[in-house]
Amino acid sequence: MEHDYDIALTVNGTAVQRRVPARQHLVDFLRETLELTGTHAGCEHGVCGACTVRVNGEIVRGCLMLAVQANGCRVETIEGLSDSKEIAGLQKAFHEKNALQCGFCTPGMLMAAQDLLKQGGKPSREEIRQHISGNYCRCTGYQAIVDAIEEVVHGKG
């Protein structure tokens, strides 16, 4: 038996109203219902970070939040951050430093990196590593990702 509920939220600035099953995760709602497939579903138990999105300005795991819990919230995805040019510098640095290979982790990695940059200051490599510790990358070995984020920290991105 499905239990469906009406939700109203904004996604990347657009008001959205849908009826969702209680069991549906936010990441699946974004990908399958709204067709915003930039956010990836990886491990689906909160370990890999591929599903990282912003809810009310804070990064969260899209697989550890139900769509119904996002009722009344402001959700931002990689599509929103990309279109608004908020992460243009990070994207350029990731490109230039070869900070991605297959690209599966990249949207989540960019969300986590931007969350750190948004806090201001000049985080060290160690602090950068700590902040992206919840995001798995199976291609790069992280070195290039830290390089890219560091580049932006020092205003070169």
Partner: protein, 264 residues
């Protein structure tokens, strides 16, 4: 991995919440950072999730009469940023950055972590070390339980069906108090291999068994080490034997000893 089907309700008042929690197949949903993975893995299949994040009065950090009273819905991120926690409950402030990762700390709650009682979690050990007191409510009444009595076993607490943990109280730290929090993990934010919450010569280990293990410090490090060897029987996990964990417990004790026993 998708969760099984369940109903969802978000009560606006405690009374409404207790009505819903009267259903024996209901489960409390707070931050959901442990519950939702367990649903995704189908380790749990409740009929209804009762989302308590709409309840008033459970999200405050108050300092009153020498006590810091923290609402169950206060998130790890808020604890991490709180000047009150930093000033008055330094052990907890040291522990928070070890709880998972930033994206999880933004949603997970203090009450959720305490009520779940994961043996590898940071807060239960801190609460025992600090002799915290929890407020528990049901439909009719309220009761208070000391942390050491609250944690009963593996994911097992003193909470009865239909009850909610609403607040945790910590005594404001005195200038002479000494606290140290140490954790060993393979990767920052991972589950601890073993960890130690030490407060004034009270050494509380986590990740060693079913619940936090208390070792009372003796006069010297050597004496305390021999007590540790006699009393601590860490359970092995997938990667670390009991002997490894006992060795690591000694290492953490050595690291913590000087800070917790010398006055500055």
């Amino acid at each position: 991995m998708k969760a099984p089907a369940f109903a969802y309700a978000k009560p606006a008042s405690l009374n409404e919440a207790f009505e819903l929690l009267a259903n024996p197949h209901s489960k409390v949903l707070a931050g959901g950072q442990s519950l939702i993975p367990s649903l995704n893995m189908r380790l749990s299949s409740p009929e209804i999730l009762v989302d308590i994040t709409g309840l008033q009065g459970l999200s405050e950090i108050q300092v009153l009469n020498g006590v810091v009273r923290v609402g169950a819905l206060v998130t790890h991120a808020r604890l991490e940023q709180s000047p009150e926690i930093k000033a008055h409950v330094p052990l907890l402030a040291q522990a928070v950055p070890h709880v998972a990762h930033a994206a999880i700390r933004n949603r997970g709650t203090l009450g959720g972590s305490l009520a779940l009682a994961d043996p590898a979690a940071e807060y239960p050990a801190c609460a025992v070390a600090l002799d915290a007191v929890f407020t528990i409510r049901n439909k009719k009444s309220e009761r208070r339980v000391r942390a050491e009595q609250f944690f009963k076993g593996l994911f097992e607490t003193d909470l009865k069906p239909g009850e909610l943990l609403t607040h945790a109280e910590f005594t404001v730290a005195k200038p002479s108090d000494r606290s140290v929090f140490l954790e060993l993990a393979r990767r920052h934010g991972d589950y601890a291999i073993i960890g130690l919450a030490a407060h004034n010569g009270r050494f509380v280990y986590f990740g060693v068994g079913e619940k936090p293990a208390v070792i009372r410090g003796a006069d010297s490090l050597e004496q305390t080490k021999s007590i540790l060897k006699k009393e601590l029987r860490p359970s092995a996990d997938l990667y670390n034997s009991s002997a490894t964990k006992l060795h690591l417990a000694g290492v953490l004790l050595e690291r913590a000893w000087n800070t917790t026993t010398t006055s500055h």
